[in-house]
Symmetry: C2
Subunit: 520 residues, 2 copies
């Protein structure tokens, strides 16, 4: 068996240990060998016949470095010796996985909704029971196991609308413009799906910040749209520059049809909180240039830095007066996954659309109906977030205590991260004003850049991979989010428990110094 | 204000009562009136600039007739007089909404997972607690609020694999080939997304049964693929004919590149259970013609008719021997939404891929990572379905009692539906062998067909709309699922409680006779 033995092993090895059919399979494979020794698998669906847009999709937050981290964890369990005893993952904004505790009230209501028999027990506070009863009454057959309306449960959308009105100082919100979603990602992809069309020079362009959250680039790749980059200003704490927006748009108009502008505020991966002035500028720009605005505001409660405040795009839009509030099309997104809740697993979220063409909105409603409905437990959770215990209700004190404790701890860790990283020569870290991430600039020695390029790797991927192998720390290279040519970064979450975060930062510091020396 | 006053009202009226800005808005609109009185809204995103593939999407199960039903319910609540006092919805397979009770054990475990404090209480059986502990241990930070792996929680995928092995008499199942999904719909759309590509005559064609479940046509429209229809044989109880598959494929090859064949078994909307022979024929056909098989098996426990049995495509594939089991590419789908569970709201499901090209499977894994993970409560529920209480465990007796009661009741209602419908002159109903639907053939008088066409409506839509207005019964016209030209049907679920189902069937009978008379 000279022909292609290695190939066979490569393609099938993973399966040989798992099923008894590999011998037969190999027999079959031999029959299908072509004369020049190439193994012909004869599949219908191959890398060459599959959807090419899917191949263009990349998602760094769960990319190769995370795959390797999982592998290393397995090796550690199997007793393989490493220079560390555990992998610390700071690659993804997954608060509960990092030990953050859920809000008691939320989980009580969810348990009551799941198993309404518990409504007869004395162990739950009355406000939790009341919320559960209200949600259950709004469900078909009084069960969270029924489909909801595709747009989401009516009373939840009403609660969302009232929450938005309170948040935005009374700016009206119509529940008919609120769509509950499967996490914010679902809403963002749905909106992009509506926007994207055309071929060649009339293909839809969508402006996204660089660095960006790679859901955007992945969705645009899948939809075959043109990703139009505008760069955040790292020198000015990752703020948005009007001149950069103008440059980016002018450039894009030469080869596509830019229709939308996406903003993440507070920023992911960059952790900045946009000023009111900046948001105003962006809205005026969108109005002037006729761009549909998409505001990803899932970190709206994650604001830590003094002097910083969250301003919703909607509120600023309405404060600019009817010329804007009656015209600029805006979709904004929220989620149960971030803020003080961190309930990622429930995949809850909502989007609000403003000034959307009624015909398009009818199409949106139709489109969401195909997937039947967002997960009902996630809808219930979204309801609790926007309708949390009020002063006077039995759960209010505990709720506020838990909420404040979580947000204060995050604020501490944001500061700690920035401070320690800035003590490392060759690392420069902007203040983590909000969200859950720092995105420090790292100086990489020329020699390491050359070595990475020789390996066909992005230099910061090379750096992060080495960091993982030597210290067990899992970060995501800046190249997965986009960055100015010739600059290098990594994204790390501020979520690990304080003691682990300190270890992580100390190890990063040590590693960076060693790495710099090694490649100098 | 002569110009376009009606238009203004039409476009904005819904908003006038809801926000204070309508006056300003109208002012603005006036400024933008063009000379010929057409109202220029000047939106970025309009019906003309939006994604045209989205416009082609249709989803009858939640289409115009259901919108009208919801409206009528509202009118009833507001005291509008109707010839009926309630709307009976038999349009969607939503068991809990129709009063089916959830399985106690499942909901106990879900409550425990949501609020693990309950593990300290004596009120839950030990097996429920053990299941909850096992699921929580597999979650990041021991919380269902953490993201899971994108492919799904490891131990759940292992349980799914063991379930499939038991179900299929020991045919091996590799957990690495199992992907947990957000309901079956998500898995189906994801697979289609991988398969679809090409332009013009090389566009991917996907063969689907007619009648079909409109998720398929909707997803294909959205992806811009070619829908290739093959007709089920109504005369032979909606079975699949090999000759019809051959005809359909040959026809399709003239104008596209057919790559996949979708089967729903037990059938939706048609309620048939395919014979083992038929499945064998389909597999041989797919192998010969090099088609990727997609088997939608979400109703696998819903088999009622004597002599009928569920055969999974995978089992039959492996029984056909290595020539098939080593080669034919298959994706099969299951869900928590149907069978005896009916837990639609949780959006749980899985898909198994077999003989998938490893490179493509890597692309699949990457693609699912962009959406982060399926809802964790749905994953937990899927785990319980595939790892239900075993003999000897404290919850086993109750579980079996509940499961059997639900399935027996469905079997009774399947029979009842068929029997009563077949007593109506002009209605012919195949046996409801499985699933949750009957799809009877209805004879419509020529005069009614003409009247419908004059209104631009499908004749069975005209019929169902009249039925709704006159009796409050909400069914879905056959045209929403596809049917042979010149034949007419409706789909009705067998899910309403027996007493309501009897009322529904009596009303349909009465209506059909009246309708026939009226248009004769």
């Amino acid at each position: 068996r000279v022909y292609g033995g290695v190939m066979l092993q490569c393609v099938w090895c993973a399966e040989e240990s798992l099923s008894g059919v590999s011998e037969r399979r190999r027999g079959l494979a031999q029959e299908k060998m072509t004369e020049n020794g190439v193994f012909s698998r004869d599949k219908v669906l191959t890398i060459d016949t599959m959807n090419p847009t899917v191949k263009n999709v990349e998602y760094a937050v769960r990319g190769p470095i995370v795959q390797r981290a999982i592998q290393i964890e397995k090796e550690l369990r199997e007793g393989v010796k490493k220079p560390f005893t555990e992998v610390i993952k700071a690659n993804i904004g997954d608060a509960h996985a990092m030990g953050q505790q859920p809000i008691t009230f939320f989980r009580q209501v969810l348990a009551l909704c799941s198993y309404p028999e518990l409504l007869n027990e004395n162990m739950f506070p009355e406000d939790a029971k009341n919320r559960a009863r209200r949600i259950l009454q709004a469900c078909g057959g009084g069960s969270v196991g029924a489909y909801s309306a595709s747009q989401g449960i009516d009373c939840v959308r009403q609660d969302v609308a009232r929450y938005i009105e309170r948040r935005d100082g009374g700016v009206p919100c119509d529940p008919d413009n609120v769509y509950l979603t499967t996490g914010a990602s679902d809403g963002i992809v749905t909106m992009l799906k509506l926007l994207v069309c055309g071929e060649g020079a009339s293909r839809t362009g969508v402006m996204i910040s660089i660095p960006q959250y790679p859901l955007y680039s992945a969705a645009l790749a899948e939809l075959g749209a043109v990703q139009v980059n505008y760069y955040l200003n790292e020198e000015k704490c990752w703020s948005m520059d009007l001149s950069e927006l103008e440059r980016s748009l002018a450039e894009a108009r030469k080869h596509c049809n830019p229709k939308a502008l996406c903003i993440i505020n507070p920023g992911n991966p960059t952790g900045q909180v946009q000023s009111r002035q900046c948001i105003e500028d962006v809205i005026r720009f969108a109005a002037k240039e006729r761009l549909f605005l998409m505001a990803d505001e899932v970190y709206q409660d994650n604001v830590y830095a003094e002097g910083c405040q969250f301003h919703s795009f909607k509120k600023v839009l309405f404060e600019l007066g009817p010329e804007y509030s009656d015209n600029v099309e805006l979709a904004s997104f929220h989620s149960t996954s971030k803020c003080y809740m961190g309930e990622c697993g429930f995949r809850g979220g909502y989007m609000e659309v403003i000034n959307m063409d009624p015909e398009v909105q009818a199409q949106l409603s139709k489109l969401v109906s195909v997937r039947l409905c967002p997960p009902v437990p996630g809808q219930a959770l979204m309801d609790l977030v926007v309708n949390s215990p009020q002063p006077g209700e039995p759960s209010h004190t505990t709720f506020m205590k838990e909420r404040t404790a979580t947000l204060s701890l995050l604020a501490e860790k944001a500061k700690l991260t920035e401070q320690i990283l800035n003590t490392v020569p060759g690392i420069t870290c902007n203040p983590v004003q909000g969200a859950m991430y720092s995105f420090p600039n790292i100086s990489l020695p020329e020699k390491s850049i050359k070595e990475a390029k020789a390996l066909g790797q992005a230099p910061d991927m090379f750096y992060c991979m080495k960091l993982l192998e030597e210290t067990g720390i899992c970060l995501v290279p800046g190249s997965g989010f986009g960055q100015k040519d010739g600059t290098y970064h990594f994204r790390m979450t501020i979520l690990p428990p304080t003691d682990k975060l300190k270890i992580l930062l100390a190890k990063v510091k040590e590693f960076h110094q060693k790495f710099t020396q090694q490649y100098s």
